[in-house]
Every structure is written in C-alpha cells, then in structure tokens.
Symmetry: C2
Subunit: 341 residues, 2 copies
DNA sequence: CTGAAAGCGCTTACAG
DNA sequence: CTGAAAGCGCTTACAG
C-alpha cells in the first residue's frame, strides 16, 4: 500500500499537522523534528497525493487568457480552442477567463496585464506583442508571483515562464528547404509575402527562410518582400502585381496571413507554369487550396495544442510542479495534400 | 460557489447516499426520488468532482502495456517512454506494468492477453499483430469490460476501443508526394525498402505510396520491393545490389526499419548523382543521415505522444469519460534537416 | 428503498 | 513549536 501522511506521522512519532508543515515547507518546525519527518518520508517512500491535497485546500485555479481580436482565421481558431478548454476546465476546478485585446496594441495589452494585479489570477497566457511596455508589465506580474506564458508569439527578455508556440526561425528554414527541393536545379525568383516586418514572428520566419535559401539554393533569388499587412485584399494586389512584373517567379512563400488574397491572385493567372507555394496555418482557405493544387505545402501550428499546453504549464507552475517538456513542445506541422487531418 | 452533493441533497430533500446512487446510476432508488434528484442536479448545475470521487473510492488505475522486444530503435524509444510514463503515473494513483512479448509472435501475444483475464487490469495497450487469435483475445477481454488500445499498429475487426498510432496509408501517400516533388519532372526509378509485406503497417504504407506515385508522378516507376526484414545487414545488401543493378534510381523510400544498413549502402556509393531518400522514424541514425544530407526527409510518429495518449485514453475509458479527440490524434511528423526537434 | 456515519489523503484554523 | 479535530467533495458499508 502506498504510504499516506498517517503512516509518516506514526513512523516519525508526530502529528499530521507537523507532517504537513514539513511536507509543505512551512515554518514553525524544530530542526530535529523536521529531520525526523524527512527521514520517515524517504524511508517509507512517500509521495503526496496532489489531488487529495487540492481537495483539502479547496484549491482551484484561475487563469486569464488574453487573445487578440480580429477576423484572422488562425486567431479565430485559437479563440475557439480556448473556449472549449474553458468549458472542460470547469470539471477540474479551473476557471479560465478570456480577455480581448486589439491586435498588436502593446499599450492596451500592457494595461490589461497591469489590471490583473488586483484580480490576482494564478496565471496568465497572452499572445505577446514585442514591446518594452509589455515586457515590463509581464515582469511586474512575475514579481507578484503571477506566472505568464506567451502564446503563439514570444517575448524574449521578459520574465515569462514559458513559450507555447513554434520556433519561427525553424519554420522559415523549413519553408526554404522544401521550396528549394521542390524547385530542384531551377534558376529563378522566389516571392515572399509577409504581414509586417514589425512583427517578430514574421521577421524570424523571413530570417530563417533567407538564410537557407541563400546558402543552399543559390540559383533562387528572393524578390523584395511584399508586406500585405495580413489583409487578403492587399495581399492579392501585391501578389498579382509581383506576378505581372517578374516573369520568372518559380516559388512563393507566404509567412503571414491573408492567404485568401494570395490564392485568388495565383488562381487568376491564365498562363505560365506551376508556381510552388508554401504558406502558414491550416484554414479552410489553405486546406482547399492545398487540395486543388494551388498550394503545395502548409506549415502549421496546432492552436488546440497551444492552448492545452499553455493551461497545463500554468497549472504546473501554479503548484511548482514539473512539466513534461516533450509534451509541451509545439511542433511545426507540415501538411501536404496527402496528410491532411 | 460550485454546488456539491450536499447542496443537491438539501435541494432535493434526500440524503447524500441517495444523491450518490442517482449520480452513479446505481439501483435501489424509487423513480420519483430519482427524478427529484435529477431535477435538483440540473437546477443547480451540478458537476461532479471526479478527483474527489476517485479519492473517496480509493480509485486507482492499473494498466498493462504489452511491448515487443527486439533492438529496433523505435521500439526501444517506445519502451523508454513507457517507463517514464509509468514513473509519472505513480503520482496519480495509476500503476502501469510493462510486459514483454516477442515481436510479431501472435500466439504469445494472445496468450499474454488471455492471461490478463485473471489480473483484471483496468485497461491494456498493445502493439497489435495482425492475426485472428490476437483479435479474438482482445475481444474476450472486451467482453469482460477490459478496454484494449492498439499502439503503433492497429488491428481492425477487433473490439479494441482506440488506436494510438499514425495513419499508415497517409504516411505512404505523403512519402510519394514528397519524393515526387523532390524529383520534379525527372524520369527514372524509385526503390522501396520494406520490412516485410506480412506486416499491415508496411503494406499500408506501400499501398499509399504506390497509389500516389503511379497516378501523380507517372515518370517515376517503382522497382520490385526489397524486403529487408527490418535488419540493417540485410537492408544494406539489398539496397547495395539494387543500386548496382539499376543505374537510374532517383529515389528511395524506406518504409520499415533497418535504416542503419540503408545509410551505409548509400554512403558507400562512390559515383552517381544525389538520390532523394525518405525514411520512417527519427532515430540517432536517421537524424545524423538527415543532417549530413544522405536522407532528405524523415516521416515520424512520436512514441512519447503515443504512450501518453494510450494512457489518457485508457484512463478515460475506465471511467467512461470523453476523450479530447484532437489531442489523441497521432500526427505524422515530417522532419527535414531544418525542423529537427 | 433510504439515511447516518465513517472514511479516502490531505490541509487548516485553533488551542496550548 | 506541536497536536486534536474538523473539513474538502465524494463514496461505502451498514442499519433500518
């Protein structure tokens, strides 16, 4: 039988309360007593039942997820997953509140974070915006012992305890590697559609992409970056005019959003050979384009995994428990037409 | 405040025991009483605290994982993950026993399954072997209410409650799709190295591979399958002689194990242009070959995810709870040199 | 068919 | 600094 606190108490000749004090590192125990109890703990191989402890404490967790608004398909999916998770969490004494913030609005985000100092949730997950005011707000929460996890977009240099998202440098490198292989031995140009070079994710993807393409596939040259602001209409215009202007475009990497416009622009082409296209995030648009052959590959991050992971990590941090690192690593999914889920 | 059984009892004017009977669908409650309690439950929006219930029941889970022996890198990784999971499980009142069985030995596997009828674990996970005796043994356990989950290799037609593994047809299709794109427009042969055509996984991968290659990439023709029995030495010999015999081999798909031999055979070639190579499972060998450029892509299933998923599913089934389907879907990972974990 | 009481493994005031 | 008792939200004999 697994030993319980009663067994420890009996073995050490102390009361339950004292065992509990030692177990939880609470003050007010004489050194000799503490040692005695600790010896019993290791002698009997005691491991605390966390669920029972949480029940006794009436422990419940309260987390806040701060998600950007906007009609971006990916962010919508992230929000839907967050709402499902919130629903399931109720059964495990965990309450999850979803807070909206305007996308890329560092000031508002920081203000929301500061506002949480009063509510004192057990943890916060946020899609970070790269800004010193946000980092400072995260650090203030950290001071108070409120753990912050960055979601999708990281904020290095802040005191966030974990990042639940993909490695964007690796994503860019992977895109280049795939595109280079798809275009094996051909000579020509590659267009890149980004959202904005002000966003770290996009900069990192571009950096990884450029590095691999330039060193490993020197026959392919990257055209000036198209900044589509993640807007379908603008993306369509930019891609269309690029396709018109440069007749030797062999490949296209879309590292941001707005892929509806990109698909329209490519589909509108009446002539020319197949262009190899790699985009990010599996949405209805990209799924259909993958099936129809307009897009060759989709790099994806699983919003469900990101949300579940963020919550698991926050829960673990709240109780100072270990996480299973491999389980929390967010994969870069590569989808072809043939392995769509 | 979240309502508890006490609140339900008070609201319905009955005792805790009766609430419990209704909650757990136990007999011996008059219909009127049952209705009264159920009304209170929905009126107060009661949801049962599963952890508290498990504590009260002194509920503990006992699962058996049946894993094939052999020095296959993938199976070793699976076993290592199982042992880690067993370690972690102790903290959650779950005991996991790992049982060895000779690989591909249907009779022994069935005997082990039958032997479990006495032990009566709460659930069993096994790497299935395609055989009627195994299916029958799984069904006998199912009759007794012992849930079986197939791991890595499925057994259709049996009463297993879940399959924790990849879609092997999709894996084969993906391999063909990648290889076809890597070899864009070229005309030549593709070699396929399998373990054995007697194993369902391998047959399915080949089926998916052939289907896509034949329909979408007609310039590539598949050479007669090399059966390497998952043994490095034999694989090396077969690949070497195939490379010697067929001078127009452009690509190679290894859908089984024994990749150490394959890498040696390819590395030994002194002449000829780059051959595009796609293999299964990320191991030390394939990781290094990916880095050095001998291999172009690795299709992988995450053994850690498979083990954790099997255990989560068994736990859920043991208590008749829902699983989060998306979380339990085992992805087909595609690794290039650029997105290695 | 129904209920009062004890218990699962821990924690928390409170008293000393 | 230490302990006895009650309690977290459920379930389980046992009695009626």
């Amino acid at each position: 039988m697994k030993p319980t606190v009663h067994d420890i108490a009996a073995h050490a000749g102390v009361s339950l309360a004292t065992v509990d004090r030692v177990l939880n590192d609470r003050p007010g125990v004489r050194e000799v007593t503490r040692v005695k109890v600790e010896e019993s703990i290791s002698a009997l191989g005691f491991v605390r039942d966390v669920n029972a402890a949480n029940l006794a404490k009436s422990r419940s967790y309260s987390f806040v997820l701060i998600l950007p608004t906007g009609n971006n398909s990916f962010m919508e999916a992230l929000r839907a997953e967050a709402m499902e998770a919130a629903q399931r969490a109720k059964f495990e004494r965990t309450s999850i509140r979803i807070v909206d913030v305007r996308a890329f609005d560092a000031k508002s985000l920081a203000a929301i974070l500061d506002g949480l100092a009063e509510e004192r949730p057990d943890g916060v997950a946020l899609v970070a915006v790269e800004s010193p005011v946000v980092a400072a707000a995260i650090d203030r929460l950290a001071e108070q012992g409120i753990a912050c996890v960055t979601l999708v977009s990281d904020l290095l240099g802040s005191k966030r305890v974990h990042y639940a998202g993909i490695d964007n440098l690796a994503a860019g490198r992977t895109a280049a590697s795939l595109l280079g292989r798809f275009l094996r031995d051909r000579r020509g140009s590659v267009a890149v559609l980004a959202g904005s070079m002000l966003v770290r994710d996009h900069r990192e993807r571009l950096e990884g992409f450029s590095a691999v393409l330039n060193t490993e596939f020197p026959k392919l040259n990257i055209l000036p970056i198209l900044e589509g602001w993640d807007e379908p209409e603008r993306a369509e215009r930019m891609v269309s005019s690029a396709l018109g202007e440069h007749r030797n475009i062999l490949g296209l990497y879309s590292l941001g959003a707005g892929n509806r416009g990109l698909v329209r622009a490519i589909s509108a082409r009446s002539e020319g050979e197949h262009i190899s296209v790699i985009v990010h995030e599996l949405t209805n648009t990209t799924r259909e384009a993958l099936k129809s052959g307009v897009i060759d590959a989709v790099l994806n991050q699983d919003p469900g995994h990101e949300i579940r992971s963020a919550i698991r990590v926050l829960t673990a941090k709240a109780d100072n428990l270990q996480i299973v690192a491999a389980q929390e690593r967010i994969r870069l999914d590569i989808f072809l037409r043939d392995n769509l889920p």
